[in-house]
């Protein structure tokens, strides 16, 4: 048992590290710790490419960023959260600049901005096309300055200790030694990222397995808007590696197998040689991914061993622009797809990219469990509604990471009571459970087989288009899979760096989250943003201008309700792209 931590942050990505610095700056006397299953600089934020949105002048206004975000989210965003987000995003990006982030620059030394999908103004800050990489390393290196931040690198949190509606710490495994420890804490901030790995084809790193969502959900905190899964329109066909939207912002075209810019057929505007904001290739991701499915049905996609594709054409941009603005795109195409975008078309198809849903929080990241906070992709505040706009996530993790850190620090300062006995007993129970999982080695299926079955079930039922009967069947399949996963075979009995055990725990988390995705999708009998039902094709504001809120029932099944959306100044309207 270790000393009581004031603010224990689970996750060392952008949200977690920003929260850690916020706590350290708010009150240096507080004990703050970051627990992460990978070294912080390996967190998935490192993969973000295109940029981070924040109003920086140039004829732009906060209201316009709000409007783009809210209409992009098909009016499911909480508008008070969006207003707070948009107002604080600029100072967060400037803060990163003051910490050394190598943002790309204009000739006169100001930070440069680029267009991005669904944004009516140029407001996306970028560090070439490795924005997340630079942002994360800048943040990580800056945290090294705060030597009092305690780090638990390569520790995997398996459980939150919650007693009487209040969090008291976590149980975690030190991966290197297999040691299971209970870490008592006055507050816990979940910053564990998304859950793309629950799907077969994703841009997400191996570590994105929804752990934080499952941890909170199991302890009674509801998840919100889980049916909204973002497909990004341009993934490389075999690996799922993302080709950033910045490639289209710099002028890239999406063409079908006949070389035709097909988006013009889907109410996204008329093609122009130069990119037009909020139009064609710079439409929102949900609409672009849906257009792909229609192209496929019309037989206008090309076939590859890894499924149908369309093409991203960057050739007309020329080598110099590609090298200068999107060098990583070129590097990824060359090293992972054996082609050069300067002279070749890039085959792409929609790929699971981002979870709009997550742990239900208020504007300060507080969940319904006292002392438990969540921020970043694992949380749902919600600013993303039914469809996130590209480049809103990086500023989101900073704005709400900081807010959650400050709120947790405040809570820790005002709640100084000693830990209850439950901490010890829950820790012991968890230790025994983990030992059984590792030593028992069930006789059920292989972890990888169960995982694949889950992934294909989700893709089949909760993909770009959904329908009630397929979703209902998927709910049964997932329930069965959950039982079988209890008996999954673990071949590795070692306590040293046992990644098979971690894979099993991640599978359990993903199954839990998968069930909530399907349950929420089944419950929402309308089409909105990234959630498109073939059996309920219209948006239905009368019934569903509301968040889905999913609780875990005592028998472990998801139970879905609705929560009204907060509207401040923007009445729900039609989403218009490519025509003014």
């Amino acid at each position: 048992m270790t000393d009581m931590i004031d603010v224990l942050i689970v996750g060392g990505g952008g949200a977690g590290l920003r929260a850690a610095v916020a706590v350290a700056e708010t009150d240096p006397a507080l004990k703050v710790a970051v627990v992460s299953k990978v070294y912080p600089m390996r967190s998935h934020t490192v993969s973000a490419e295109g940029g981070a949105a924040a109003v920086i002048g140039l004829g732009d206004t906060l209201d316009e960023h709000c409007y783009d975000t809210i209409s992009g989210g098909d009016w499911l965003c909480d508008q008070d959260a969006v207003e707070a987000f948009v107002a604080e995003a600029p100072r967060e990006l400037i803060q990163l600049e003051h910490w050394g982030c190598p943002w790309s620059r204009e000739r006169d030394g100001r930070v440069a901005v680029r267009p991005f999908g669904g944004m009516k103004k140029m407001r996306t800050w970028y560090a070439a096309d490795k924005t997340g990489f630079h942002l994360l390393h800048t943040l990580f290196q800056t945290t090294l300055k705060y030597q009092d931040i305690i780090r638990y690198d390569e520790w995997y949190v398996t459980k939150l200790v919650v007693d009487d509606g209040r969090v008291h710490g976590v149980v975690a495994v030190e991966i290197r030694t297999g040691r299971v420890e209970t870490i008592p804490a006055r507050t816990v901030v979940l910053a564990t990222g998304g859950c793309g790995r629950a799907f077969p084809f994703t841009t997400n790193a191996a570590i994105k397995t929804g752990d934080g969502m499952a941890l909170a959900y199991r302890e009674g905190a509801p998840l919100k808007d889980m049916e909204f899964v973002q497909y990004h329109p341009t993934g490389l066909p075999f690996t799922g590696i993302l080709i950033t939207e910045a490639a289209r912002a710099e002028g890239g075209w999406l063409i079908n197998k006949d070389g035709y810019r097909y988006l013009q057929d889907y109410d996204l505007g008329t093609p122009t040689p130069e990119p037009t904001l909020r139009s064609m290739e710079l439409g929102p991701r949900d609409r672009l991914s849906q257009a792909f499915v229609h192209e496929q049905r019309r037989g206008r996609t090309a076939d590859t061993p890894y499924g149908p594709v369309v093409y991203l054409d960057l050739r007309h941009l020329g080598e110099e622009k590609i090298e200068h603005r999107i060098p990583f795109v070129r590097e990824l195409c060359r090293s992972y797809q054996n082609l050069d975008p300067v002279s070749d078309l890039i085959p792409v198809r929609p790929v699971v990219h981002y979870m709009m849903g997550g742990v239900h929080t208020d504007l300060d990241g507080a969940t319904t469990v006292a002392g438990l906070y969540a921020a970043g992709e694992t949380a749902c505040v919600s600013i993303n509604g039914a469809n996130r706009l590209g480049s809103n996530s990086l500023p989101e993790i900073l704005v709400f990471g900081r807010r959650a850190g400050i709120a947790a620090a405040e809570f820790a300062r005002s709640h100084r009571e000693a830990e209850p006995a439950a901490v010890h007993s829950q820790g012991e129970d968890e230790r025994r459970r983990l030992a059984r999982a590792r030593e028992g080695g069930g006789n059920g299926g292989r972890i990888a087989d169960l995982r694949e079955e889950m992934q294909h079930t989700l893709e089949g039922a909760a993909g770009i288009y959904r329908s009630g009967d397929v979703l209902a069947k998927a709910a049964d399949t997932l329930a069965g899979l959950r039982e079988r996963a209890e008996e999954a075979r673990v071949e590795d009995g070692s306590t040293t760096f046992n990644t098979e055990l971690i894979n099993l725990l991640e599978l359990h988390a993903m199954l839990e989250v998968a069930q909530t995705i399907v349950a929420c999708a089944l419950n929402r009998r309308e089409s909105r943003g990234a959630h498109q039902r073939t059996d309920h094709t219209d948006r239905d504001d009368a019934a569903y201008l509301a968040h889905s809120l999913v609780h875990r029932a005592p028998d472990g099944t998801p139970s879905v309700g609705l929560l009204p959306v907060t509207i401040t100044r923007w009445a729900p309207g039609e989403r218009v792209y490519g025509r003014d």
Binding site: V38, M41, R110, T142, R489, T496, F497, T499
Partner: protein, 246 residues
């Protein structure tokens, strides 16, 4: 996609080491499909998923940016997610942990030494005086950005340490990536430090014998060897002209 009758296979000889069980590393051979678009890492995940769940290795992004998957492939330090298996056809191909680091298990090495070294070079922007309000950025022209940009591209994969003949003999040597990252800040027009106290040491820049292996293996073209040479020049200048910086 896998295991059809016609798919050729390649033999992967993988170093296994389980403390408490193996006295020393042993090689275990696995046959995996030799697919055109598979990286070495895909071969390893195939082994873990299909053949032997007990094999341990690190990976995450599978796009060459998280820095987790460095290993020794046929004797060379490589990022396994960015190295095609076909490069080693018809095989066999040997996979070992990164050399120069203590092995924790199988292909997983202990990198805590690097993290301590990274912290020691103050890898953050050092400024004097109060931080200005968060209403405006520090100006930096594209040329000023270019001056350090290359050194900011380091993904901490540690291939350079693994390849460095000095580090292998002298674990106290600060090493290529930590020095390159110190230079990343030294050359940043917004930074006001020169990290002389931690760089101008026998175990820091002066330990480098300019073999240049680090630059050769670096998958991100950081060129740590150049970073070190440039610092030697400015450190030498500084001892002649004590007031000059950089």
């Amino acid at each position: 996609m896998t295991d059809s009758a016609e798919t050729p296979v390649i033999r992967m000889e993988v170093a296994r080491y389980r403390p408490g069980e193996d006295a020393e590393p042993v090689f275990q051979a696995y046959d995996v499909p030799l697919m055109d678009d598979w990286a070495v890492l895909d071969g390893l995940t195939h082994i873990k998923d299909r053949l032997d769940g007990s094999l341990s290795f690190r990976w995450s992004c599978r796009m060459g940016v998280c820095g987790s998957c460095g290993m020794t492939v046929n004797g060379e330090a490589r990022l396994t997610c960015g190295t095609f298996l076909t490069e080693y056809a018809p095989g066999p191909v040997r996979i070992e942990p990164l050399k120069g680091f203590p092995v924790i298990r199988d292909l997983v090495v202990d990198i805590d030494d690097f993290l301590a070294k990274l912290s020691s070079v103050r890898p953050w922007l050092v400024r004097e005086g109060e931080e200005p309000p968060l209403t405006a950025e520090y100006a930096q022209t594209p040329e000023q950005l270019e001056a350090y940009k290359q050194y900011s591209m380091c993904i901490n994969c540690l291939l350079c340490y693994s390849a460095c003949p000095v580090y292998v003999l002298d674990p106290d040597f600060l090493g290529p990536a930590a020095i390159a990252l110190a230079q990343r800040y030294n050359l940043d027009s917004r930074d006001m430090d020169d990290r002389f106290d931690v760089l101008n040491l026998e175990d820091a820049v002066w330990g480098c014998t300019f073999v240049g292996e680090c630059t050769k293996v670096c998958p991100k073209h950081v060129d740590p060897a150049e970073a070190i040479q440039r610092y030697k020049v400015s450190a030498a200048l500084r001892s002649v002209l004590p007031w000059s910086r950089r």
